[in-house]
């Protein structure tokens, strides 16, 4: 028996609790979140990316951030804008029509409330992409979505660390979100 397998054997009880059983309910949730074809799913993602990029690039400036919060907002804002461009192009490539940029309203006036909302948005983004992933028909689109969600997860962890929260709020397995769950978080921020 190897050292690693010995340790694992000792942790079997933990694994049984948090391993497969922890994933199972989330899987059915991810699979339940089907919402039309790839272009429609990408348009939903595009709306979220518009929201995130507007939040960092416009609201971030209004709030007046400093230090690490400011540099994260600048970096992440640029990365969300790149996601907007990529998704817009991908939707066109699939023969779809990219949604127009909505108007947003963010209920935040301070750096701390800005960062708290950033945490919600980034973590919601991760759950949204993970939830939609298995519904994507095109493997190329899936690869692209995977590439984006990894970046969202990195943003989420960095923001959460900055505000003293756990960088892994869902422990070992990120919880996929249904479209309805994402809308419950993001919907109130969309004005028109």
């Amino acid at each position: 028996m190897t050292r690693a397998s010995f340790i694992l054997r000792g942790a079997l009880a933990t694994g049984a609790l948090y391993g497969t059983t922890a994933v199972a309910p989330f899987v059915s949730q991810a699979l339940a979140s089907t919402g039309g074809g790839d272009a429609e799913i990408l348009n939903f993602a595009l709306t979220l990316e518009y929201l995130e990029s507007d939040f960092y690039t416009v609201k971030g400036k209004q709030v007046g951030l400093s230090g690490q919060a400011k540099s994260y907002a600048t970096l992440f804002g640029a990365e969300e804008e790149a996601h907007v461009s990529a998704l817009t192009a991908a939707i066109r490539q699939l023969g779809g029509t990219p949604v127009a940029k909505p108007t947003f309203v963010f209920p935040t006036t301070s750096e701390s409330s800005f960062l708290a909302l950033a945490s919600v948005l980034e973590n919601t983004g991760v759950g949204a992409y993970n939830g939609a992933g298995p519904s994507l028909k095109s493997k190329a689109v899936l690869a692209s979505a995977g590439s984006i969600v990894q970046t969202e997860a990195r943003h989420a962890a960095a923001i959460d660390l900055l505000i003293g929260k756990s960088p892994t709020p869902n422990q070992g397995f990120d919880r996929p979100l249904t479209k309805a769950e994402v809308l419950a978080k993001a919907g109130p921020l969309i004005k028109a």
């Binding site: 942790a11 391993g19 990365e79 192009a89 190329a140 960088p167």
Partner: protein, 228 residues
Amino acid sequence: MSNPANDQSVPQPAGIVERLVRDDVDRKRFLKMAGSAGAASFGAFVLAACGSSSKTASTAATTAASTSSSSSTGDLAILNYALTLEYLETDFYRGVVASDFFTGKVGGLIKEFGSQEMTHVEALKGAVEKLGGTPVTAPEAKFPIKSATQVALLAYTVENLGASAYLGQAPHIQNAEVLASALAIHSVEARHAATLGTLVKKSVTPDGAFAVPADMSTVLAAVKPFLA
């Protein structure tokens, strides 16, 4: 996996990934068989979406992905590959925790990450069994544990590699449940990587807006030095 997988050269599940890590010839044969060449080029879609003109590469990636058979053989190989990487991560964190280099908040995070990798191991073993396969055994690993700085940098490297490894496999997974599980793990590896990035004062998004995938061959070559 493509049709050659049906002949007598089907790899034995137990230990195959570990053997692949050690043996270049085996690895090349396996990768050829598994049709993993597509993994190397699938980032092309993102580039194409960004306005680059790499349409040919994009088409190639799509074709490579769609020519994989829908049998669970490919998924099993991917899961056992992921399991091997999770074994290695678990072993690495075990050594880091034992070293006592990190205390306080950072020490707590390191411990937490280690136990999360352990839950990945258990989940992957469960998934392999559910598909009717045999989980690979843990490889004997040996990670250098020399100083807090060296270990933190290695952890950052290991987690970035893990995240790119999952990203590299996602488009090759056939079973939707397996894919959902892999995605749930993938973003956690990304969170680990970003956290360690802040610790070692390196970028939390080293690839920029679009994380870059790594194919099996690249990842296995990268972990090879750590096998005992």
